[in-house]
């Protein structure tokens, strides 16, 4: 017993560390930790539970997803009700979604097409791959619109910026950012040459809005555009309160918001990609399978109906 104590305690004295040995010890501990973390699972076990990852209730992406894949039940007095399984991990953050799926072999989730990254694998839906091309030609069914929100009292520079967004030049920027343009065939001609526009709202729309802003700078350098990233609701309410000139939203307006005078316009279409871990052999789902998984009816990977 004593000997053991002495051995363990060999590195540490009460009034002073033996620095070298302490360093060596901590290095060993560190390596142990690292190996414990890095040595994760490398083989896919079909018998494991599916980890479902979803966005938060009320998120534009989630709304679009549940609508598209029919992840809802009909409830009396409420109509269609989101029925995503209670066990689903909820996140409000695309990066968390990506990381959860990239580190957890048994996870399944969904993100915006523009945010797709190669740390995860995108799954086909009904045999169709999620790509810009397929969203555009309508074969990939999971897509949703991005909106800009305005009020009646729109400033001249804001009007000018919007006309740029909806012009061919603007829509080209949308496409190069990885989204599907909403419309085509309009020309842009600057109407004013100075002023300031504040744009704020949905974090999903922000990346494309920033690209638009930069491109706009080349056409009309006199106008200063400020992009505020927050979320759809803040965007809409800020616009209504006059804090922002233009709001960004990834969801449709509520009745209340419409009532208060908010107007929405579609600026782009976004695909929703089903993502799985890169070692997951299941990468081609039917809509029914996805619905089953997100309803919680299919709980294990091997109970997936092939």
């Amino acid at each position: 017993m004593t000997n053991e104590f002495i051995k363990i305690k060999g590195s540490i004295r009460q009034r002073g560390f033996n620095l070298k040995k302490a360093a060596a010890l901590s290095l060993i501990c560190l390596m142990f930790f690292l190996s414990a973390c890095k040595g994760g699972v490398s083989e896919f076990e079909e018998t494991r539970e599916i980890t479902v990852i979803s966005r938060e209730d009320g998120s534009g992406t989630r709304g679009a997803f549940t609508e598209l894949f029919g992840v809802y039940t009909n409830m009396e007095g409420h109509g269609k009700v989101d029925a995503t399984t209670e066990e689903a991990i909820i996140t409000n953050n695309t990066a968390v979604m990506l990381y959860c799926v990239s580190t957890n072999p048994y996870a399944i989730g969904y993100i915006s097409l523009g945010s797709m990254s190669d740390v995860v694998k995108s799954a086909n839906v009904d045999g169709v791959a999620a790509s810009l091309e397929n969203v555009k030609n309508g074969t990939y069914k999971a897509s949703r619109p991005f909106y800009i929100v305005t009020t009646q009292s729109l400033s001249a520079p804001a009007k000018d910026f919007i006309s740029f967004i909806l012009s061919d030049g603007g829509q080209e920027v949308v496409e190069s950012a990885g989204y599907v343009p909403a419309l085509a065939g309009r020309e842009y001609t600057p109407s004013v040459d100075s002023g300031k526009v504040v744009v704020g709202g949905s974090s999903s729309v922000t990346p494309v809005m920033e690209k638009l802003k930069e491109a706009y700078g080349a056409y009309n350098p006199g106008i200063d555009v400020e992009v505020q990233q927050s979320d759809s609701t803040t965007g809409v309410s800020s616009t209504l309160q006059g804090i922002c000139d233009i709001g960004m939203s990834s969801r449709a307006l509520t009745e209340n918001e419409k009532h208060s005078g908010a107007l929405a316009e579609t600026i782009a279409l976004d695909g929703i990609v089903i993502i799985v871990n890169s070692i997951n052999p299941n990468d081609d789902f039917t809509s029914e399978q996805i619905k089953g998984i997100f309803l919680g009816e299919t709980a294990y990977w091997d109970s997936l109906e092939k």
Binding site: R13, N93, T206
Partner: protein, 288 residues
């Protein structure tokens, strides 16, 4: 020269511990906990450096932010501005309030109890609640809009209790003899406070300020709702601007610039480190 006889050898210590197992267990526990703290630190910082350093480039310090090059310089400037603003509000207020509580208020005073409760309450309020409050009060009610000033004020309220409490502790630990001695020499109260009581309390107060700076620099939730997220250098105190932490959050959020976010994290780390060193240096200067 002979060896001194009072050097406790390791063997001797172990023999002493053998008779007192409880002490030995406590000793092991202390060492273990210290190791856990150090290891978690090494691990966390090591991880951040490992992920971040390869992604640092001069481009990150460009004057302008755009989606091709997510420069962090504007947010860096904002961080400094907001930290400075928030501290210049909450620092004096917190320290003066603490002075009032320790030096002026009588013991068992209702006000003291109320203050203790309020400062405890304030320090417990989650930052997101501060954010909501800041949005409702500074942004909407005072009509400042999303602005650096609104963010700084919100953060000032947030760190106020932190500064106040550490200052209180520091002041209380100054021996009463110091004050009595000074009063005995005929010094008046204000003089005693500033010349006698405050100097020895400076390290304690500064540790509070460091903690406060840490919270300000690391704050995300409340700033999103008050200072906004514009990634550019603000023109005035009433325009919006994001701090480094918000910048990181925004970069992480869409999952597009994760490498850049790590690099930003490293820069943030360096800044916090530099601030700590600076404040230590100042503390040394002041106490000397």
């Amino acid at each position: 020269m002979k060896n001194p006889i009072n050097q406790s050898t390791f063997k001797r210590r172990m023999r002493e511990y053998q008779k007192r197992p409880a002490s030995f267990v406590m000793f092991i526990l202390v060492m273990l906990c210290a190791c856990v703290t150090v290891l978690s630190f090494v691990f966390l910082v090591g991880y951040l450096l490992y992920k971040g350093i390869p992604n640092i480039s001069w481009d990150l310090f460009a004057l302008n932010y755009n989606s091709e090059n997510v420069s962090l310089l504007p947010s860096l400037i904002n961080t400094v501005t907001i930290t400075f603003l928030a501290l210049s509000v909450s620092g004096p207020t917190g320290i003066f309030a603490a002075i009032y509580l320790v030096e002026y208020a009588k013991k068992g005073n209702k006000l003291v109890k109320l203050m203790d409760l309020t400062s405890e309450t304030l320090s417990g309020i989650p930052s997101i609640v501060y954010g909501l409050f800041g949005m409702l009060f500074f942004v909407v009610a005072l009509d400042w809009g999303f602005s650096v000033l609104a963010g700084a004020c919100t953060l000032a309220i947030m760190v106020l209790p932190l500064i106040m409490r550490t200052t209180q502790e520091a002041l209380r630990s100054v021996p009463a003899e110091f004050r009595e001695g000074a009063f005995g020499l005929g010094a008046d109260k204000v003089r005693v406070i500033f010349k006698i009581v405050l100097p020895p309390a400076v390290p304690g107060i500064l540790s509070g300020v460091i903690l406060a700076v840490g919270r300000i620099v690391g704050e995300t939730a409340s700033l999103i709702y008050t200072a906004g997220t514009v990634a550019e250098i603000p023109e005035s105190l009433f325009s919006s601007g994001r701090t480094l932490a918000v910048h990181m959050y925004a970069l992480f959020n869409e999952g597009l610039y994760i490498e850049k976010a790590y690099a930003t994290g490293v820069v943030l780390l360096v800044i916090v480190c530099a601030m700590n060193l600076l404040s230590n240096y100042v503390a040394k200067k002041l106490t000397r």
